[in-house]
Each structure stands twice: as C-alpha cells, then as structure tokens.
Symmetry: C2
Subunit: 104 residues, 2 copies
Amino acid sequence: MTTEPVGAERAVELARVFKALGDPVRLRLLSLIASHEGGEACVCELTGVFDLKGPTISHHLKVLKEAGLITGDRRGTWIYYRVSPDTLRGLADVLALDDAGVPA
Amino acid sequence: MTTEPVGAERAVELARVFKALGDPVRLRLLSLIASHEGGEACVCELTGVFDLKGPTISHHLKVLKEAGLITGDRRGTWIYYRVSPDTLRGLADVLALDDAGVPA
DNA sequence: CCTCTGTCTCGACATCCATCGAAACAAGGA
DNA sequence: TCCTTGTTTCGATGGATGTCGAGACAGAGG
C-alpha cells in the first residue's frame, strides 16, 4: 500500500470544508439551520442567538456557503439558509475511511 | 424544538477538532498514518512525503495529537503515531446528526 | 418618491496560524 | 565519553482570520 488514500489536491478541498467547521459559531449556525423547522432558517432568527453583530454572522454564513455546506435564497425581504446534505455526507465518508485505515 | 442540538460548550470542543482537520497537510498526515501498514507510522516516514521541514511536520503532528486525533509513543529511537478511532467516530456522528436535522 | 427593515460589503484592527532556522533533547553506537 | 540521527521546542515572520462600525444594497409599504 504505497498509494495515499487522500491525495494532495483532494486534501486541499477537504481542508477547506473542515476549516469552515472549525469555528464554534459556524458549527452552531449549521446546527441551528439543520434543526430548525422546515430545515431552513433566516438570518434574523440566527443573529439573536449569539452575542455577535450582524456583519459577523453574515461573514460566517458566507464562509459556510462558500464551503458548500449551506445554500441561501432570498424570498422577499428575508434570506433563508438550508444545509447541503451531500457535502456533509462526503465529509462523514472521509472520516469513516480514515477510521477504517486502508480502504477497499 | 427550542433547544440547540449543538450547545455552546460542545461547539467549542468540536470546533477545536475540526480546526485540526482544516489543513491539507494534517489531513494527509492522518490519512497516511491510518493507511500505513500496522496502522501506525513514524515521523521519518511522514516527513519525506511533503516539501516541508521537520519542525513543520512536528508542529502538525502536535496539533493532531492535542486534538485527540492521534497518539504517539516512542519505541527506541523512533516515535510511532496511530489514529484514535473514537474521536474520528464522534465527528462522523455529529455530521450525521447535522445532516438528519433534528435528532431523535 | 421616501423610508424603514433586513442583509451584505468594505475597510480596519487585533489576534491567531503555518512555516522556517537554530538550538535543545533523546536514544543508540563507537 | 563523544558523535550521529531522529524528533521536538523556541523564537521570529508573513499571511490568514474573527470581529466590528460605517455604509451600501434589496425589498416592502407608505
């Protein structure tokens, strides 16, 4: 087994997503969105949870969006965010592989 | 459903581990260790894979170790690292919960 | 048109982080 | 003991990141 399970380029992509999860606020944002009724939440419902100003929340949501972890669409005045299950599942798969050692 | 699935303190712990995974080099180190014969690898076998000096590899291994993702023990001249499956599985569980939305 | 509210962008600041060279520490062998 | 090799720690430096205030943009409703 000389081949590396996680290659250099793939590691860069994965690291970008894991880095997006590497902040307590973003982790809680993702959790709040995922658990919110209907699987989506607007920014106004997320901002009040933290002792952080609007621009900071907006920044974290942008990071999550650019990592492919959430998507947002505007409906009228409000912007609703929901999680992207595929990206999350991809990460879980990688962790499972690392856990199992050498893959099939 | 007003309770937050991932609370504030737990988010801090989880973020620390995800942050450790948020670097391409550390991701590949973890992968290399996990896939190496016997489930363990010594630093000398890891250093040559990257265009990085010894201190940098040592630093990344320290970050992984402090995150609880790997353990290292010295046997004679060499130090062997192996992955901690429990920590990895814990992360996979969290991702699965976020994916599923509201947990059971 | 104006205003109000929700959200984002921009620019700044302090802090953190990845990387390295130099030096220290650990273990084995001459 | 000294030397050599493997690994870590220390200190420094350039670049990334979290946070915020001020302002801009978008949409709804007078």
